[in-house]
Amino acid sequence: MTILQFFLWSLLKVIVVTVVLLMAVAYTVLLERKLVGRIQNRWGPSRVGPFGLLQPLVDGAKSFLKEDIIPTAVYRPLYLLAPVIALSCALISIAVVPFGDPSITGPGNFHVFQIADVNIGLLVILGITSIGVYGIALAGWSSNNKYSLLGSLRSSAQLVSYELALGLSLVGVVMRSESLNLDKIVQTQATHGLLSWNLFGGFQFVAFFIYLMAAFAETNRAPFDLPEAESELTAGYHTEYSSMKFAMFFMAEYANMITVGCVATLLFLGGWTSPFGNLLPTPNNIVIRSILPMFWFVIKVFSFLCLYVWVRGTLPRFRYDQLMNYGWRWLMPLAILNIVGTSLWLAYR
């Protein structure tokens, strides 16, 4: 395969994945509004299109056409840069996620279901998400507004604290599969379906719980949505943003949710492998064989997103000192204990 072919194929993959991801972001917003509506015993958006299915498109058009206000007191370069950092970091990390069976390859042994197969895929995702903090931090600082500044201070403290627990919770999984490559991590969970998932067969349910909590905090979602707590901070770090710039923060938040869901699926829920293992016969048709893994992957991510919305609709917000105590005094020691336990178990086995 020549370098030109490689470039064109990669470009195609990037375009397809980005378009699908952005559509997924739009419809995750709808999913959340619908589900939260049902939790609160109302319908949610139902007027635009059948079942309100066109609502995301109309919302997008609305935020595109709205007047774009830039307050006079902002520090312009960073004010304009912040939403770009937030959104691009949220979109880039999907590049290392494998969506389907890597044994099905295109011309020249080319990965079809993954943009980039990196040896250290997991670390790449962690690195990019850790850079994403700057979007929020700079947005709050450059807005020159008390609420924004407080929101972004809270957010950076929260993200730094919970990143530790998040990273430590993944160590057990990495130890079990002896690799940081996301494909290999999925392969180690592929043998017996549900029973060999890290969540069940790998005894990583403590790690999954820690990951879940830390991921909610990392994506600034309820019950850890203190950076944008409406009752105290108006809207937190994006108070001064309007129109498309606000929409970029909004999209970044949902794109991050999807990435977190993908990582949870890959690390704990067996990725694109079937939950029934070898109980289902492997289909011979190449089309079914390539679509079926993607189907399982999407189902798993979708359930994770529903869990997100369920938690948001049920739990009240933490207080700030509770948040910090919880992260440092409970989650982190628990994560370290989990690492010790997993290594003892792996050594004994």
Binding site: L123, G127, Y134, A137
Partner: protein
């Protein structure tokens, strides 16, 4: 291809470093430092050290620099004032820096086996790295972690110091 990437990111790194010194806003300096850190990570990657590159981004660009920006934001540090500096510093400082750099550079160039790593396709895997780290370099590795532990304990002891009445902080 590797050479082109090296030139781009080395240039970016140096520009960031110079920009860091010349910016008046502290937050801009902090951001330039992030650019320096991340382009250094790319340079590590070009040398085949993928784990080091990722650790550089996660630890330095993602955690330590967040604390930097956090402090800048918390103190709301404004534009710094330019002073001309004392003339003694200017006359003695620059030659002194040049002399020290020259001594260090000659020292490094005389060292055997130093600077052998070239831009290459070979990538040192995380498994190889950890094998070396946990067998041949085990003692230095453990001593470093004890050092970090001491630093953590020290900072906790400083932060936990009770108030004037000797009350325990919450």
């Amino acid at each position: 291809m590797h050479l082109i990437l090296f030139i781009i990111f080395a240039a970016l790194c140096l520009t960031g470093a110079v920009n860091l010194l010349f910016q008046k806003q502290p937050i801009n300096s902090a951001l330039s430092l992030i650019v320096v850190m991340t382009s250094l990570a790319v340079l590590y990657l070009l040398l085949g050290a993928e784990f080091l590159a990722a650790a550089q981004v996660i630890v330095y660009a993602g955690a330590i620099m967040v604390l930097f920006t956090f402090v800048v934001m918390l103190l709301n540090a404004g534009r710094e004032e330019r002073t001309l500096g004392s003339s003694a510093y200017r006359t003695v400082g620059f030659p002194a820096v040049a002399a020290i750099l020259a001594v260090i550079a000659t020292g490094f160039m005389k060292l055997q086996g130093f600077g052998d790593a070239g831009i290459q396709d070979h990538i040192t895997s995380t498994a190889d790295l950890s094998t070396v780290l946990f067998t041949r370099l085990l003692l230095p590795f453990e001593v470093t972690s004890v050092l970090i532990l001491v630093a953590i304990l020290g900072s906790v002891a400083l932060a936990r110091k009770g108030d004037a009445e000797g009350r325990e902080p919450r």
